[in-house]
């Protein structure tokens, strides 16, 4: 009995520590002046959020969180910072008007207040019983569920990834095409265009020549 109470207390302490770390890192990720440090803070925050998933007995999601957010998205944003040198300018961190800051504070305070009311006042304990079923950490069950009758989830994920990759490449290609010279100068179309252009030019030249001849004879 005493052991169970100690475990419950330990779990609550773990939760509070993880929550404080996550919220502090999220704040630093938004407010630190150096954008590179901000991205690192975001990566650490994502890794700390995995702690919540471990507390919620979802170890696969915790692993995926660390792999995708900390390993993938943070690295991607760091690459973004490197490719966008202007993002590192400290002048960007100074707001033009304090009005925007006030609006942001009011908006986020409203969201937080309404959410806190929803979380604390709404009778969640009646909707969800306090004693949850003993399911936890069933990786084999999750795998069977995911790859068995719900394979559509995996296919959807694959499709979305493919769409994102193709979309990114297509957008960058579009940008490059816009920068190139107009369409008639391109090798395929250009040669035909030039031929046509050349043919029409010679035709016009011949007509002028003929007109001049006629004028001369007259």
């Amino acid at each position: 009995m005493l052991m169970q109470e100690f475990e419950a207390l330990f779990e609550e302490v773990e939760f509070v520590v993880i929550a404080v770390v996550v919220l502090l890192l999220a704040y630093l990720a938004l407010e630190h002046r150096e954008i590179v440090y901000s991205v690192f803070f975001f990566g650490f925050m994502a890794a700390s959020v995995a702690g919540f998933y471990l507390l919620l007995e979802a170890p696969f999601i915790a692993g995926m969180q660390i792999a995708v957010y900390t390993g993938g998205i943070s690295a991607l944003i760091i690459f973004g910072v490197l490719l966008l040198p202007r993002a590192q300018g400290s002048s960007l961190e100074v707001l033009q008007t304090p009005r925007m800051r006030r609006i942001g504070m009011i908006l986020s305070a409203t969201v937080m207040t309404l959410s806190a009311v929803l979380a604390l006042v709404f009778p969640w304990s009646q909707s969800f019983p306090a004693d949850r079923p003993p399911i936890a950490q069933d990786l084999a069950g999750l795998a069977a569920w995911l790859w068995g009758e719900h394979g559509i989830y995996v296919q959807l994920v694959a499709l979305m990834m493919l769409t994102a990759v193709i979309g990114s490449v297509a957008i960058l290609k579009m940008e490059k095409t816009e920068k190139l010279s107009p369409l008639k100068d391109r090798p395929g179309l250009g040669s035909r265009g030039k031929e046509n252009e050349g043919a029409s030019e010679t035709k016009a030249h011949d007509e002028e020549h003929q007109d001049a001849k006629e004028a001369g004879t007259q």
Binding site: A58, M112, S115, L142, A164
Partner: protein, 106 residues
């Protein structure tokens, strides 16, 4: 056992922080980070609801796998759009092109 409302409070505070970042920041990368923080908050709420549901199913976790993949995809797309933005306007300041347009119209 930790009550569900504790998780919800943390999730909603993260959503509020992300909203604050998205509204007040001018730097596109910070706006993206704000969106990611909001997404993390939503994920925590989803997993918590999934676990505290009396009838257990893996639906919540499957949904989270989907959401995390979508987040990764939209981050990649957002970075490409940022590259385009910088090429077009020579800045990543969200307010500046408007100013340039306003100057042009003046």
């Amino acid at each position: 056992m930790i009550p569900l409302s504790w998780y919800l409070v943390v999730a909603f505070v993260m959503i509020g922080l992300g909203a604050y970042g998205m509204v007040t920041k001018r730097n596109l990368i910070r706006i993206l980070i704000g969106a990611e923080i909001m997404g993390n908050g939503v994920n925590i709420a989803l997993v918590a609801f999934s676990l505290y549901n009396p009838v257990f199913s893996f639906t919540g976790q499957g949904l989270i796998i989907l959401v995390i993949s979508v987040t990764a995809a939209h981050t990649a797309l957002a970075l490409v759009l940022m590259l385009m933005y910088q090429t077009r306007y020579s800045t990543v300041d969200l307010g500046e092109p408007v100013t340039v347009e306003a100057r042009k119209s003046d």
